[in-house]
């Protein structure tokens, strides 16, 4: 091959743009032709020198000292601008958001002043305060502590409120109402007053300020010789511990399975808890717990919250006679006592069915309350 043809490929060779076959031909020729070899070495030298000069030229380009700061500044501006662009993209929803806020506020005000249904206090998470107050034969409530721990001590010492030698009754008591000492000496025992009721509510009683409950309303008043159990002291915000979110956070703690169904073992007596055949529209079981013999089922339906409590009657009868803050009602031919609605909208119903003492309590209507009771 002619030297000129070979030399035409030198630049391609240096550019790395020569096929392997042509490269091999050039290499073979260079090994045989000293003139072409010399020419190629010269071109390689020029190429290396050009690379060097370009790099010198490149390194000599002066860089403005302020450039890094300018970049930082623009970066900061850009980040802020991106944030405001993001905000602007949501501007179209501001009208909707404002309308929702106005609506929610108006609804809250309406509920506060015109509706008997209280707004659950989700922030404080207050649960209904329930106490069992044991009135000793002398009528002094000081003798009984307001917490369940102390009550247990009473039981263990043989001074249980379940003492059958004493007349017992149970009534709902609203702490906002003045105590109304009633003479219940002549009443027939209808309701079972159980220590189990108290034991079923450790959380609630723990929430009470210790012995502070001892200065609670002395329901026993002048009733001598009675041991009276007062159940379910409902606080002014009293709503059953709905707060579905909190409750459902721990399935194990709710007594429900993943499908939201009851997941409690049968009571020691071998009976499964009774479930209502009727529930208000939208009502859902959100929690169930059992303390020994007492089962409590918590339901919620929007603003409405209530619970159903079931405990063994244990043969003790408590009377509703003489109670003035409610009325007697019939639940499927059985006697029951319906407590008047409290200012906070809570009502309660208690009755005995076979061997069970049943209680329903919450901020639902009387009609709904009776319907639930009759469906059990």
């Amino acid at each position: 091959m002619l030297c000129d043809n070979i030399r035409d490929w030198f630049n391609d060779y240096l550019d790395g743009d020569l096929t392997l076959k042509k490269k091999q031909i050039v290499d073979d020729h260079l090994s045989q032709c000293s003139k072409c070899h010399q020419e190629f070495e010269m071109l390689k030298h020029i190429d290396a020198r050009l690379r060097q000069e370009i790099r010198f030229m490149f390194e000599d380009i002066p860089v403005p000292g302020s450039l890094p700061q300018k970049i930082e500044d623009r970066l900061d501006l850009n980040v802020k601008a991106s944030f405001f662009r993001l905000l602007q993209s949501y501007r179209r929803y501001t009208g909707i958001a404002a309308a929702l806020i106005v609506f929610a506020t108006a609804y809250g005000i309406f509920q506060q002043y015109f509706s008997s249904t209280p707004i659950p206090n989700f922030i404080s998470g207050n649960s209904p305060q329930v106490i069992v107050e044991n009135i000793n034969p002398t009528g002094s409530s000081d003798a009984l502590p307001g917490d369940s721990t102390s009550l247990s001590r009473d039981e263990s010492s043989g001074q249980s409120i379940q003492n059958k030698n004493h007349k017992e009754d149970m009534l709902f008591h609203d702490s906002n109402l003045p105590a109304k000492p009633e003479d219940t000496s002549g009443v027939d025992a209808t309701y079972s007053s159980t220590g189990a009721l108290d034991r079923s509510l450790p959380q609630e009683t723990d929430a009470l300020p210790g012995t502070g409950k001892a200065d609670g309303p002395n329901v026993g008043g002048g009733t001598s010789g009675d041991t009276r159990a007062i159940a379910s002291k409902i606080s002014s915000e009293a709503t059953p511990p709905a707060g579905g979110e909190t409750m459902m956070a721990d399935k194990a703690a709710t007594g429900l399975n993943n499908e939201g169904r009851l997941n409690l073992a049968a009571t020691p007596s071998g009976c499964d808890p009774l479930l209502p055949g009727y529930l208000p529209e939208g009502a859902k079981l959100i929690k169930a717990d059992r303390q020994e013999d007492t089962v409590r089922l918590y339901y919620t339906a929007g603003q409405m919250n209530f619970f159903i409590e079931e405990s063994p009657a244990q043969g003790n009868k408590t009377s509703t006679n003489g109670l003035t803050n409610g009325k007697k009602v019939k639940i499927n031919e059985l006697d029951g006592f319906l407590l008047n609605k409290t200012p906070s909208g809570e009502i309660g119903l208690s009755w005995q069915s076979d061997h069970l003492l049943l209680t329903i309590q919450g901020n639902l209507s009387e009609n709904e309350l009776i319907k639930i009771a009759e469906s059990m």
């Binding site: 743009d17 020029i46 020198r49 050009l50 860089v63």
Partner: protein, 178 residues
């Protein structure tokens, strides 16, 4: 810790949103990127603006940097692409106004004619047209292949090769004269 490892650490931190790490990347690469921009644009203020734009682009795209090449290579591509977008825009505007730069259309022969016998190579290179100088910078400084240079500059591979060959021939002539 060697430079590569520390740079990799910086990149990881910057990708995780560490502003200080990104600032360190800026200080490490600002000079090189500005010089690349200046080599292509031959205009200080434009090179500054484009370097800033390149870092903003880098900030947005850093999460997508997969470290298949060095950061410098990856970032240089951003700078070069932005510069060429800018030049294309300028050319379009220039064409509309009938003001196509003479320097852009200059040939190797024009350059050789202007090179004085006694002129240093450095000064001779300054007489190159912008597009010729860009080919040399991309090829020799950024170590891009002929095909990559052609692709970036949107010119035929043959054009890139002829410019490289012309630069070698001119340099040879200067050296042989000297």
């Amino acid at each position: 810790m060697n430079d590569d490892a520390s740079e990799l650490k910086l990149i990881h931190a910057a990708q995780a949103g560490n502003k200080e790490a990104f600032s360190e990347l800026i200080s490490r690469h600002v000079s090189y990127s500005y010089r690349v921009a200046y080599s292509i644009l031959q205009n200080q203020s434009e090179a500054e603006d484009l370097t800033q734009d390149a870092f903003l682009t880098c900030y947005r795209k850093l999460a997508g940097f997969r470290k298949e090449s060095s950061f410098r290579t990856w970032f240089s591509r951003i700078v070069v692409n932005l510069c060429y977008d800018h030049l294309r825009k300028k050319r379009r505007e220039g064409a509309l106004l009938g003001k196509i730069s003479d320097r852009d259309t200059a040939t190797v022969k024009d350059w050789m004619d202007n090179v004085d016998q006694s002129m240093e190579i450095k000064n001779a290179l300054k007489l190159l047209s912008d597009s010729h100088r860009t080919v040399l910078v991309l090829y020799y400084e950024l170590d891009l292949s002929v095909k990559s240079v052609a692709k970036i500059m949107n010119i035929p591979v043959g054009t890139v090769k002829s410019r490289l060959a012309g630069a070698r021939a001119t340099l040879r002539e200067i050296l042989e004269r000297g």
